[in-house]
């Protein structure tokens, strides 16, 4: 057809640009390829010959590696899907031996990007396994979507037609959808986004991510009332409240318009209009609280429990005494070390005020320590302003001859997660016996046993207001429960593998789940639908955290990568910063300026969130620009992997870990 024309164009292009050598190389290559392919095609035409995959792939590979530098990385992207489908086709046709050797010959090329998938796929040896393994099945059922620029696409088509590589053409037609974009090829740095499409259909993800998310904070929260009280006392200007609110709304609208370029601001706007009187935000407010207060307000979709008055009082007190953190004022970190755990500690958690610490053990026990009784009185209150000499002495406090902790027994399998209610009076634990138990820290007794999951429950988390909680399980579902019902209220199904961690959004309308299928999903609690899908992690997601303004989410994975996501756009804000080993825990500081991460590499790291998100707001015009999280401080521990992190309401950071010697 217009091949000739095309070729001419290419040559003209190269000529014009002065790529003399490339031009020659291209010509030479074309000649060579056309001749070899002709002879090959005639030779191996026998339809069921397993060698055709090998030959076809090998040639495609050499071609891709010899292609023009500028387009090479785009063309190389095509190789991975072709490679795994060649392999699976071979297996499906029963050529196990050939499949193996094919796999081993070429696996090195993809080792860097896809090593975990390759490890899984390596085990496939019979057509039966293809049916059985989730990864293989989802690969077979879904199509890869690859972004290419116009020219690379044409190069590829040209190659396939010229060489009559029918096998390759078949695979590419069947398994890959090309997203051809005009203009220059994309940058190499975007690769993660382009290639990391595995096991999930991008169509679905895209469709899901079109839905709107109201990421704002709850109306009428305690914080807000606090702010209002502050500002009321501060200003004595007798402006009309309406005008003020109007101003605020305008300011906020413009801000949102600027920030969420994806056109998803419809929701927040609508909500904003419903907003009646919001506390004093914007210009006349203190700058430090701006991040939280700038967020829009939403109505709760769940009926929320009322906060007891005295609890509210204490929260207000805490808020008044909160230490302001930013990239110059770093938090104090109080570290709770578990000793003599004999490798049995599976999880730990800290209550909101840091006074209670719980550990879940592999011998099915749950133990709660009251830190106030262990000779660390008033840990949370007076500690911030003081210097190093306030380091408390360690009394072993076993003087009464009794256990220094409260032992909760009831589970019949390793306890994988434990969480305190926001006010510290309840405790949830989940175990491999597929139950969740509710304990009262006041009565020291088991109150309820929630049965519903069919497999081990990996994670359980209380909602920010208490009463509701979410669980994540090996049975690939996440469930929403309320304390007063023994059946789950919602079941979130959709992940393709275990749901490993769960986290509530600050406004309680959403939960986020991280899974072994390497995705993070956001679910609407009311409808139980998946409304966001975040693709980008390369291994199992282990930890999640929500920013206090409800706009961002951080997720950490098995490889030590931490990613920040914008909930409204579903994009990654700052990728691939991180640790050397599993990120067990993440926590945002109370104003959202800092992110703390704890890892198996025995460090707590503090990241500067404020500057990276601010920078994002500045240059919104460049959509693809992503900047890494800035590491502010790495705090190494003494051979103690960090299991859990939590900022108290006064911005003191608590961390827990089990001392592991001899490793």
């Amino acid at each position: 057809m217009e091949d000739e024309e095309m070729e001419k164009k290419v040559q003209q292009y190269l000529h014009r640009k002065g790529f003399r050598l490339t031009e020659l190389a291209l010509q030479e290559e074309r000649n060579r390829l056309s001749t070899t392919s002709l002879s090959d095609v005639s030779l191996s035409r026998s339809d069921n010959d397993p060698a055709r995959y090998y030959d076809g792939y090998n040639k495609l590979r050499t071609w891709a590696y010899n292609s023009l530098d500028q387009y090479k990385h785009e063309l190389l992207r095509v190789l991975y899907p072709v490679f795994i489908h060649c392999f699976m086709d071979l297996v499906a046709e029963g050529h196990t031996q050939e499949a193996r050797s094919f796999f081993h010959t070429f696996r090195e090329d993809h080792e860097l990007m896809h090593s975990r998938d390759l490890q899984k796929l390596e085990g496939i040896l019979s057509p039966l396994h293809l049916e059985e393994m989730d990864l293989a099945r989802s690969l077979r059922e879904n199509k890869f979507r690859i972004k290419l620029c116009e020219y690379s696409y044409e190069l590829l088509l040209q190659y396939l037609q010229k060489t009559q590589a029918l096998v390759m053409l078949g695979i590419i037609n069947e398994r890959i959808i090309f997203e051809v974009s005009a203009g220059q090829p994309s940058l190499i740095s975007d690769d993660a986004d382009v290639v990391a499409l595995v096991g999930t259909s991008k169509d679905l993800a895209k469709q899901i991510n079109q839905k709107e998310v109201h990421w704002g904070l709850l109306e009428d929260s305690v914080e807000e009332r606090m702010e209002k009280a502050l500002s009321d006392s501060d200003k004595t200007e007798a402006e009309s409240k309406d005008a003020d609110a109007e101003d605020n709304n305008k300011a906020r609208n413009s801000l949102i318009k600027k920030s969420s370029e994806g056109g998803k601001q419809g929701g927040p706007l609508k909500k904003l209009k419903k907003d009646k009187v919001v506390g004093a935000t914007g210009k006349n407010n203190k700058s430090e609280a701006s991040m939280v207060s700038a967020a829009p307000r939403v109505k709760p979709e769940l009926t929320l429990p009322a906060t007891p008055v005295e609890v509210e009082q204490s929260i207000l007190e805490d808020l008044r005494n909160r230490a302001q953190l930013n990239n110059l004022a770093l938090p104090s970190v109080s570290f709770y070390t578990f000793l003599n755990t004999h490798n049995g500690l599976n999880c730990s958690s800290i209550s909101n005020d840091g006074s209670l610490v719980v550990g879940g053990f592999s011998d099915s026990s749950v133990k709660v320590w009251d830190m106030a009784k262990i000779g660390q009185p008033a840990k949370t209150s007076s500690s911030q302003g003081e210097n190093g000499s306030s380091q408390g002495e360690h009394l072993s406090s076993t003087s009464e001859g009794k256990r220094p902790y409260t032992l909760f027994q009831g589970h019949s399998g390793p306890v994988y997660s434990a969480a305190f209610s926001p006010f510290g009076d309840f405790l949830l634990s989940s175990s491999s016996d597929s139950t969740i138990r509710l304990w009262s820290t006041k009565l020291n007794a088991n109150l309820v046993c929630y049965k519903g999951h069919n497999y081990p429950v990996w994670d359980v988390q209380f909602s920010p207001v208490g009463h509701y909680f979410a669980s994540a399980s090996h049975d690939r579902t996440a469930r929403i429960w309320s304390m007063d019902k023994i059946q789950p209220l919602r079941i979130m199904a959709g992940h393709l593998a275990d749901v490993d961690c769960v986290q509530w959004h600050v406004n309680c309308n959403y939960i986020a789940t991280g899974s072994s299928d390497k995705t993070v999903r956001l679910w609407d609690v009311q409808t139980g639908e998946c409304i966001r899908m975040f693709i980008g992690h390369r291994s199992m997601v282990l930890s999640l955290a929500m920013s206090p303004d409800g706009r961002y989410m951080a997720s950490g994975d098995e490889d030590g990568t931490i990613m920040m996501w914008d909930l409204s756009t579903g994009r990654c804000v700052s990728p691939l910063a991180g640790h050397n080993s599993c990120v067990w825990s993440l926590a945002f500081s109370c104003e959202g300026a800092l992110l703390a991460s704890g890892s198996a590499d025995c460090t707590v790291k503090l990241w500067d969130v404020a500057s990276s998100t601010k920078a994002l707001k500045m240059d919104d015009t460049k959509a693809g620009s992503t900047n890494r999280l800035r590491l502010l401080k790495a705090l190494p521990t003494k051979s103690t992997p960090v299991y859990n992190l939590r900022f108290s309401r006064r911005n003191l950071l608590f961390a827990t870990g089990a001392l592991s010697l001899g490793s």
Partner: protein
């Protein structure tokens, strides 16, 4: 085709009672077995991650099996990861070392201690972003001097807002103050208690002691000058120095200049301790080793450290007006610095010094019992240093030794012509056991002083030496003790040879000793002239045969 060969399947089939499995069945099963294995491992890794571990244990595999409703494999439950051993002769075959345990032993063994219960302790990992230097935190990098710090801060200021906090000056926390007071008290008054030993361990291990180092170095320097007469205190102080030097978290370099004089004092002081019975020799040895370790550790950073040290020592050694105790310290100090220091500094001066020392050694000329004993100490130290040097030499150049047999023999012959007396005794020695005894009795008869005791001691101690031959370091350790007798005996033999007729030649050889190409044979011959047979105890048996 799969990593599980079909032979394995056949073996497993046999073990579960299927004697003959058709080949095609095992071939079909093999890939499936591999797949199931991988599946279980995948689940086990999930369990491992959720137990917040990075090492897979048998328990994880068990939970993975129970996830799949498969009976777990019993008998492998243990908290620790299993230890695999490599099978001898196979590159990638491993097995678990499963020893047979005698049932009776287990029953009779005392009950093991109950494991400690889980506990939680709290500490500050950071205070406003700065990690306090407490033992619970990992050691921070050595704190650089404040001045430097300020300078670097100014440099960095132009870029990003990097916040460097100046090290807090002159603030010693209450805990550290108490710690310091406690250590001082222990050192001064209770240095023999087990508590002091604990304190030393803490000094050598704890991080966060750095702020105390200036205080310690001042305390040590001060106290050494003040309590020269109090041997236990001096010893305790030196132990404190040793512990501080060992502590990896302490940045002691800037304070070495303060500590070194105290240590050297403890080596070459004229009098240490106020009683005659005080074993100050031991303190000198200890301090000498300490100083040598400092030189080894910090010598590369301070070029003139060793030079200054050796200058001090050699001055003490070469000054005939200094007391014998000081000479002893100097010799020990130099020999602790290594054999090259001995070759370079001691050996060239050995001959004249021996002439000086000689009268002190002899009963007739030195009537003061104390002085004579001291002289013998010095003699022993010299012998030890020279002997170790020789030993090292022989070890370093075994080829040189065999090549030098020819000239050696010649030199031996020359020695023989000069000194028939010595010739005789060396042949005696070469004829091993019986002649050796004979020689011993010879010696005991010819020597008049303390003949009765010596006669009993001699053969035993000489035998002891030859038994210890390959291990001169051990001998050095015992140099202050029972060896003195042996040395005395050897010295007696030496005096049998009569005057040093060829002193000139010997000292020439010794003066050349530092040269690397000087062969060991000459060295040995000259040393033999100085020390007599005692030197042979530093040569390994097969090498002796070369010389004799």
């Amino acid at each position: 085709m799969s990593i599980v060969p079909k032979e394995t399947i056949e073996v497993i089939a046999q073990s579960v009672g299927i004697p003959t499995l058709p080949a095609d069945v095992s071939a079909a099963l093999a890939p499936d077995v591999e797949y199931r294995l991988r599946e279980i491992m995948q689940e086990a890794i999930k369990c491992m991650r959720h137990a917040k571990r990075t090492v897979l244990t048998a328990d994880d595999v068990d939970s993975a099996l129970s996830l799949r409703n498969v009976e777990p494999v019993y008998g492998f439950a243990s908290g620790d990861p299993l230890r695999f051993k490599r099978a001898v002769g196979h590159k990638d075959l491993f097995y678990i070392d499963d020893r047979e345990v005698d049932f009776k032993e287990i029953i009779e063994a005392p009950l093991p201690k109950a494991p400690l219960d889980t506990a939680v302790v709290a500490h500050w990992l950071a205070i406003e972003g700065v990690q306090p230097a407490i033992p619970e935190n990992p050691p921070i990098d050595a704190i650089s001097a404040p001045t430097e710090n300020i300078r670097t801060e100014h440099v960095k200021d132009d870029g990003l807002p990097v916040d460097i906090k100046l090290p807090v000056k002159h603030i010693l926390s209450r805990e550290l103050q108490m710690y310091f007071d406690k250590i001082v008290e222990l050192t001064m008054s209770r240095s023999s208690t087990p508590v002091f030993r604990e304190a030393l361990v803490s000094l050598s291990k704890d991080s966060g002691l750095h702020p105390l180092v200036p205080y310690f170095s001042y305390f040590i320097a001060d106290e050494v000058t003040r309590s020269l007469a109090d041997l236990p205190v001096l010893f305790a102080l030196m132990r404190v120095v040793q512990s501080l030097l060992r502590n990896p978290h302490v940045h002691i370099e800037p304070y070495l200049h303060q500590l070194m004089p105290s240590m050297i004092t403890c080596i070459v002081a004229k009098r240490l301790g106020h009683r005659l019975s005080d074993n100050h020799w031991e303190l000198r040895d200890f301090s000498a080793n300490l100083v040598a370790s400092v030189c080894r550790k910090y010598g590369h950073a301070y070029h003139n450290l060793q030079i200054r040290l050796t200058k001090t020592l050699i001055n003490a050694f070469l000054d005939p007006h200094k007391a014998l105790t000081q000479h002893y310290g100097a010799v020990q100090g130099i020999s602790a610095l290594g054999t090259s220091a001995v070759r370079l500094l001691l050996l060239p001066n050995l001959e004249p010094y021996m002439q000086l020392l000689d009268p002190e050694l002899q009963l007739e000329k030195q009537t003061n019992e104390m002085k004579r004993k001291e002289a013998w100490r010095v003699y022993g130290a010299l012998l030890c240093a020279a002997g170790k040097c020789l030993y090292e030499r022989l070890k370093l150049f075994p080829g040189l030794l065999s090549a030098s047999t020819q000239p050696l023999l010649r030199s031996n012959k020359r020695v023989a012509t000069n000194n028939p007396n010595k010739r005789k005794s060396s042949t005696d020695l070469s004829a091993s056991q019986p002649p050796l005894k004979k020689m011993a009795s010879d010696v005991s008869m010819s020597s008049m002083s303390s003949a009765a005791t010596m006669a009993g001691n001699m053969p035993g101690s000489v035998d002891g030496f030859s038994a210890q031959l390959p291990n001169p370091s051990m001998m050095q350790a015992s140099s202050s003790g029972q060896m003195a007798d042996g040395i005395a005996a050897a010295g007696l033999i030496r005096r049998d040879h009569g005057g040093n007729h060829h002193a000139q030649m010997v000292s020439a050889v010794l003066r050349q000793a530092w040269k690397e190409d000087q062969d060991a044979g000459h060295l040995l011959a000259s040393l033999h002239d100085v020390f007599g047979e005692a030197i042979f105890s530093f040569i390994q048996p097969p090498e002796i045969s070369f010389f004799l």
